[in-house]
Homo-oligomer: 124 residues x 2
């Protein structure tokens, strides 16, 4: 058994939109990711996703079942859970550091294939 220091792990990479696996339990992954700029709209058919902000802030755009577009600003010390099926798109004006909890195998771009898709996130 060992402990994991989030700050140390975050220091070990710099690229954006490329989640790194830092833990696994009960079929779920704990990931760290750095965001900057605008991601792609997507959803996950079978996975709920938690975004916990560790440093900075970002805006989560999402679509309600009616189709109406909404957004939430998530700052350090706050989290949001995006339910499966919900179209969403993170946007960060400045770099933000985020911890993710999601099932093993969750693709960062969900149902969408794009040049931002990371099919095999690194374990760090």
């Amino acid at each position: 058994m060992q402990k994991t220091c989030l700050a140390e792990k975050l220091k070990s990479f710099s690229e954006h939109w490329s989640p790194k696996i830092v833990g696994e339990l009960n079929g779920q992954h704990v990931k760290l990711v750095k965001f900057q700029g605008e991601f792609v709209w997507h959803h996950h058919d079978n996975e709920d996703e938690l975004f916990l902000v560790l440093q900075g802030k970002f805006r989560m755009d999402y679509r309600e079942p009616s189709g109406s577009e909404q957004s939430l600003e998530i700052s350090a010390g706050e989290f949001v859970i995006v339910p499966r099926g919900t179209e969403h798109r993170p946007y960060a004006a400045e770099e933000v550091h985020v911890m993710l909890f999601e099932p093993v195998g969750t693709l960062n771009t969900g149902n969408v294939q794009s040049n931002l898709t990371v099919s095999a996130p690194a374990v760090i």
Copy 2:
């Protein structure tokens, strides 16, 4: 969809060793708990448990499969995953604030019934 502020949730309760549910996703609960003093030795037969320290620090005592007793000090910004089956006992000299990530239905005292057992954690 809504966001959750950890500091606000932590302000809303003061008792120790009584996890509160602040989120649910993929059959897992996100909980917040305040520790102070010594908990009971226990294990979980079927659940891995993640402890992320938000404020303060605590010592996680645990037993290796050989039976040898070990401990890890976990400080703010660090987490530990206790695998199912591992005997463990948190101890905090001073109050510590912790986020837990574990399957829905996980009992705080695992296989042990004690006056610290919380069979139905509150949702806050």
